[in-house]
Amino acid sequence: MPTRPPLVDLLSPATLHKVGSLAMIARIAVIGFLSGLDRSISQGQGGEFLQYRNYYPGDDLKYVDWKVFAKREKFYTKVYREETNMDLLIVADASGSMDYQGTTAPCGKWRYASMLAACLAYLATKQGDNVGLYVYQDEFTEIIPPNRRGGNLERVLASLQRQKPGGPANHRAAWQSITNRLKNRGIIVFLSDFLEGENILPPLLNRLPNTRHDCAAFHILDRDEIEFPFSQSTEFISLEENSRLRTYPEYVQEDYQKGMNEFLKTLSEGFRSSQTEYRLLKTDETLAHFLAAYLRRRERLH
């Protein structure tokens, strides 16, 4: 009898990456994740009918569907999706550096970020939150504001599927544009490698105009960027700039790692000082941690 794969395997990027559709990825990941947590989608008194269930004593009678009772002589209670004023704003960096896929990684950084965004959007939608998506490079390439209307999730997923990373990232311009669009309370999730942004973004986040917003910065890096495992003489080609560099990795590895560590430290301390949750995600790590972190943050805000 085949054994059921563990939850971690199902949520690993190596597994999810094999599923082409982001919608399917989001469904698998979120449902699997929630079933693992023994949680269900939030139900409430919203306007969108969700399903029927058996009537239990104590249920509000106004939700009993009398027409069905008349036909079947049995009580069913109507269940509606809970409706909230919570916005989820997903800000994704689609610059060229996000197009990198390491030598051992199951997927590229942008693919990983897309899967994260899809899962987040799906989960938020199922929770009744309003999902918006902002994708930027040197300028915005996609803007989907949070909306209560149906079909927003499909637009988000389609947009994520469509994006092709490239060009440099203009973090400052992107953030300033986003802050002008914030209305409801909610969560802003940054998905980026934050290259060249360690000294730009934290001060900007620290000056959020509305304290009802919570920010989370998910730092997506490939393991190669951290460990720099190259050994042969290599000609490095920059993904964001039109520059090349021939060198011998064994001679520059130590200095590289030193610079990278300083970069991560600066970034972490900057986000911490701006009360932004910072999490470093490597493209070969499971999505479960990310989803759990989102849920914890949502519950805190609720």
Binding site: T234, E235, R246
Partner: protein, 665 residues
Amino acid sequence: MLTFQNPAFLFGLLLLAVPIFLHLIHRTIFRPQKFPSLRFILKGKFPLENKRRLRDILLLACRLLLLALLIGFLAGPRWTPPEALADSAADQPLHIFFVDASASMSGWDQMEIAREEIRQQLADLEGAPVALLVSADRPLVEIPPTTDHQSILRALTEAEAFLVQGQHRESLQLAYRWANDFLSSPGANIHLHTDRQNASWNPSVLPAAPSGLEWHWHQPVEEPRANTAILSVRLRPAAEERQEAVVEIRHFGESERQVEAELHIGDQTITRSLNLLPNQTTRTIIEIDRPTSNRGRLSLEADDYPADDTYHFWAGPTPPVEVTLLDREGLLPSEEAFFLERTLEARSETHWQEFNPNVVQPETFSSENPEQQEVIFLLGTGDQLDDSQWEHLESFVAEGGLLLITTGQNPARQNNILRQRDLLNLETIGVASATPRSGNDTIDWINPETPLGRLFDEEDARALLLVNLFRHARIRVDPEEATTLLRNRDEEPLLIEKPFHDGRIVYSAIGFDTSWSDLPLSGAFLPLIREIMATNLSEDHGIQRVATHLDRTPLARSLQLTPDALALADLSPDEPQALQIGEQPVEINVPREESDPTPTPLDEIEAALMPRGPSPQTAESEEEHLAAISISWRPYLLFLAVAFFLMELFFAASGRPTRSPSKNS
């Protein structure tokens, strides 16, 4: 011009391909790798690819140069400055003119012919380096390589043949040394003007030539050549107070020759017509009256080589022969010594040779006695001599002396010593004495095969055969050991002789006093003793015969005179003559070894002169010549090699990582 001592090492330059090949196969291939950002890579302090490429090229260049310099060092490059090269290119081959000026070249006008040939050759060699060697028994005229042809012509005009036997070894070696400087470049020629007379050109003594020397032989007069030479003239007594001149003349020619010989001595001039057979020596005797002059000369009709057509000889008395009588101890000389001394001092009408007897006793006889001793009489005193005196006697006889031994009072003991010293192996039987019954013994046999037998012919032998022998030592001797000269009636040897090295030993079984025989009182005693000694003395005894020679030192040494004393004698050794220096008669004549006109075959001479391997002198000379005109690059190459080696070490060290790679992965 750049030259190399060991050009074979230049093939080592092919090794330069090795580092180039290694460089090419290890050339860095950069794998393209897309990467999000280069900002952290740029923080690496290690030189980037361009810097490393430059370092690699410099390292390769250092290694190539280092290798090339080492190969160049081994190849030994030498730089010849253009000026020196131009001078060298302007050089012409050396021409050495070797003129044989030995005695034979004085004939047949050969010297004049040689001079003319050399003049013609010089005319064709304008500006070329030439050298002149006039050689007789040594180099007589030496003009080293020069372009001054006039000096050669002047020396050539003055050069004359010298009346000596040619010995050209030293001259040829000198010519080789001159030629060595030119052998490698531009070359050397040696022109030999010689008749190759066989005595002068003995192949066994000719020195081997260095390789590369070109030989040109010029024989002034082609064969055949004929020559007549007076080989010797000896005077000897003849009957009736006359003298006989024994003349030996050799004719070198293929046909007979009639020649007039003219002998001059004092006021006598005697002419003889001689018929000389081809290639034979003719011996003739010319009788003359007792000469009134001590100097004589025999002349032939002059031929093409006149130097040997005259012979100067000594006609006067010769110095007395020194004779030592080793007598037994006593206040007065023994009777034996007395008779011998008187006999030797006596003058004879028929014998000009005088003797100078000197009686000594064993205790005063030593090797320190004058070396003039020519004859020693051991008068039965052998048992009184010690070992050193016997050793002296042995060496005396071995070097050509005559030792005459009488039996003495104890013949067995003396004969035993002679046998032990391997001087004379005699078996002593005893002493035989005459008895009234047997009567006196006599000499019964004279060996007719010996000069003694020829002297005592039938008429003269009577006096010797009538000698009464009172007693004699009975000895027995192996005929192979010694020759018996006299025997008694019982055929027992009375007088024997034995050659011993260069000298002779004569043993008498009878003593020379009246107790042994009446021989000392007979008329046969004097001719017997004189003949015994005369046969031992050479025909040249008393006369010093030397060849005409410019160097007086050998003559002075043979006469035991200092060169100064010889100069005082007003002697001109290069002029044939007969003279007396002190009491020593001297005959100086042109050496007859040069009289034979037969040349040594050219192939034999060339075989002797053939180079035997590379001459070390040549190699050394070439090395010196190169060193003189060129500059060796070896020290500079070595210095540069060291510098590039240090640079190579520097570049190699600068390319190594100073920090070990991180192992975080």
